[in-house]
């Protein structure tokens, strides 16, 4: 799961078009929550141990409590200042080494993309790094013994696929409706096991995570909209809008 800032609350500086990220609440991305929900449902049906794995900064320790309250049994966090989640190659390398140290995993569930970056590379990079098959864009998942059956969404087609575990599955938001953490569980969550590892613990050094991108700028798109608002009497407002559309050549 990836910790992201609350994207709905991002403000843009009017003069520079820079986003203001300081002080924003941190949470897990929506599709990461779908992945967790699916893991917990599989556990409830078949019995399993659910581990939340996340890479990031020290603030992860608070965010992960929600995942534990929802039903994960334990958490493993790899915490290092260089792991800011901006580089999929580095994140995937850390996740791959952490998965190895955890002894694998029969089913690795990820969101189809992170809420902020939506690059969708993590599952694919992990699949190659761990040499494990992957099924992407899954909206329905059934586990039978060591085989999974998944319905995957590829544009206008739905594909039903079967594959043996271990397997990586990326899920879309259609797969389930994530539950909220029950209040009673939030208190108990802090007593669940939490491994906190550094890069050194998984045999990595910061130089192996040197970024493969250089961000030149990251600004809100230039707004050249007119921003004309009609309020008050609706007949009048509709009339003005219809006139404006006609002048623009956009309506009869």
């Amino acid at each position: 799961m990836k910790q992201v800032v609350d994207l709905q609350q991002i403000r843009i500086k009017r003069d520079t078009r820079e986003p203001v990220l300081e002080g924003l609440p941190l949470l897990f991305g929506d599709m990461d929550k779908n992945a967790l929900e699916e893991a917990v449902r599989i556990k409830e049906k078949h019995g399993a141990t659910v581990t939340v794995l996340s890479v990031g900064t020290p603030k992860l320790k608070e965010t992960v409590l929600e995942a534990l309250a929802i039903g994960a049994d334990q958490a493993t966090l790899v915490i290092d200042p260089v792991c800011d989640g901006s580089d999929p190659a580095a994140t995937a390398l850390v996740l791959a080494e952490a998965v190895k140290k955890l002894g694998g995993g029969d089913l690795i569930l990820v969101g189809e993309g992170s809420a902020d970056n939506y690059s969708g590379q993590i599952g694919s990079r992990l699949a190659e790094a761990l040499d494990v098959p992957q099924v992407t864009y899954v909206r329905q998942l059934t586990v039978e013994g060591s085989t999974i059956t998944a319905v995957r969404d590829i544009e206008n087609v739905l594909e039903v696929v079967k594959v043996d575990q271990p397997v990586i599955v990326s899920v879309t938001s259609e797969i389930n409706k994530p539950r909220r953490a029950p209040l009673t569980q939030i208190l108990r969550a802090s007593r669940k096991p939490m491994n906190i590892w550094t890069l050194k613990d998984i045999g990595l050094t910061p130089d192996r995570l040197s970024p493969v991108h250089r961000v030149v700028s990251n600004l809100a798109p230039r707004q050249q909209r007119k921003g004309i608002l009609f309020e008050g009497d609706l007949d009048e407002a509709v009339g003005k809008l219809a006139d404006a559309l006609r002048k623009e050549g956009a309506a009869p």
Binding site: G120, E128, I154, L219, A251
Partner: protein
């Protein structure tokens, strides 16, 4: 094979869009433009690639575009790109392409920019633009590894023919055993609409109270000769409209001349799909709704009152 740009997509229209962009970039960088052609028994696809400016085509007769496995696709690309092969890959960002992009990037230990919406050359470097922070910003970035993987949203660039001639090389590729078995393929339910190509688009969101009220919106669509689109909630959660009408970061990206947004709050995940509309009109009862920030014209009011009035007005003007 000289080092250069290779372009690939299982969708022909996307392949030609990428070739058009690839041609511009390869000329600026002074490198070769190559296309990958998947199963092409009569060589027709290769010839089409030359129509769009490819200087070289690598044909893979043993692998077809339909039902292509991303693990196999990545290995085809790896065989072409490894060692002395092309350094830059432009891949169509379909779901298959996007999964494959991450895989080939990992195989080549390369940086990868997903869902590019712009590619340009600056100081002989490739500058890639893509949405960041959930669509709040556009990030301009450079991939710093020698090999560079870029997946490009379909319909981002316009395909323009530029006939050339060139050589076709056949790749001797032995597919690895497939680990994910496809047991069934079925078309998604719902009408076949393509809202991406609509000149006028009306999008409706959760301001609409019930499915039956879609009639109001459809009447406006008829008056505007517009296609109907919607937010994720209306298709994925409520199932009022089929998914091929869903607009946004995980749905369709549209470039209509006129976009009318009705009862849509304007969350960035949705508005990313209409940001490039020429003219945006918003109708929402909440004056503070973010949708008004990206609108050219807005009416603050209850859609149940505004929409019928607007439909009526447009009908009168048209008659």
């Amino acid at each position: 094979m000289t080092s250069g740009i290779i372009v690939s997509s299982e969708v022909d229209s996307t392949l030609f869009e990428l070739l058009t962009k690839g041609r511009e970039v390869s000329q600026q960088l002074g490198i070769q433009l190559c296309a990958l052609s998947l199963r092409d028994p009569d060589g027709k696809n290769a010839q089409e690639c030359f129509q769009y400016g490819a200087q070289e085509v690598v044909a893979v007769p043993s692998i077809g575009p339909s039902g292509l496995d991303p693990e196999v696709y990545a290995r085809v690309l790896f065989q072409v790109m490894k060692e002395g092969g092309p350094d830059i890959l432009l891949l169509g960002s379909t779901k298959l392409g996007k999964e494959t992009a991450g895989r080939i990037a990992q195989l080549l230990q390369a940086g990868c920019a997903s869902d590019a919406i712009g590619i340009s050359v600056r100081d002989s470097e490739l500058l890639i633009e893509r949405y960041s922070l959930g669509g709040n910003t556009i990030s301009s970035e450079v991939i710093t590894t020698k090999k560079k993987i870029i997946s490009v949203m379909p319909r981002t660039f316009e395909a323009q023919p530029a006939p050339t001639t060139g050589t076709v090389t056949t790749l001797d590729f032995k597919p690895p055993p497939q680990r994910v078995m496809v047991v069934e393929r079925r078309e998604k339910a719902g009408e076949k609409v393509s809202i991406e190509s609509a000149e006028n688009l009306v999008c409706v969101g959760q301001g609409l109270g019930k499915k039956e009220d879609l009639k109001l919106i459809n009447d406006l669509c008829a008056a505007l000769k517009a296609e109907l689109g919607c937010t994720r909630a209306l298709s994925s959660d409520f199932h009022w409209l089929s998914e091929d009408r869903m607009v946004g970061i995980s749905g369709k990206k549209c470039k209509p001349k006129l976009h009318v947004s009705i009862g849509v709050s304007g969350q960035i995940q949705h508005t990313v799909g209409v940001m490039s509309a020429k003219l945006i009109v918003a109708i929402n009862k909440d004056k503070e709704a973010p949708i008004f920030k990206i609108a050219d014209y807005g009416i603050v009011g209850d859609l149940y009152q505004v929409v019928p009035k607007l439909t009526q007005r447009l009908k009168i003007s048209a008659s």
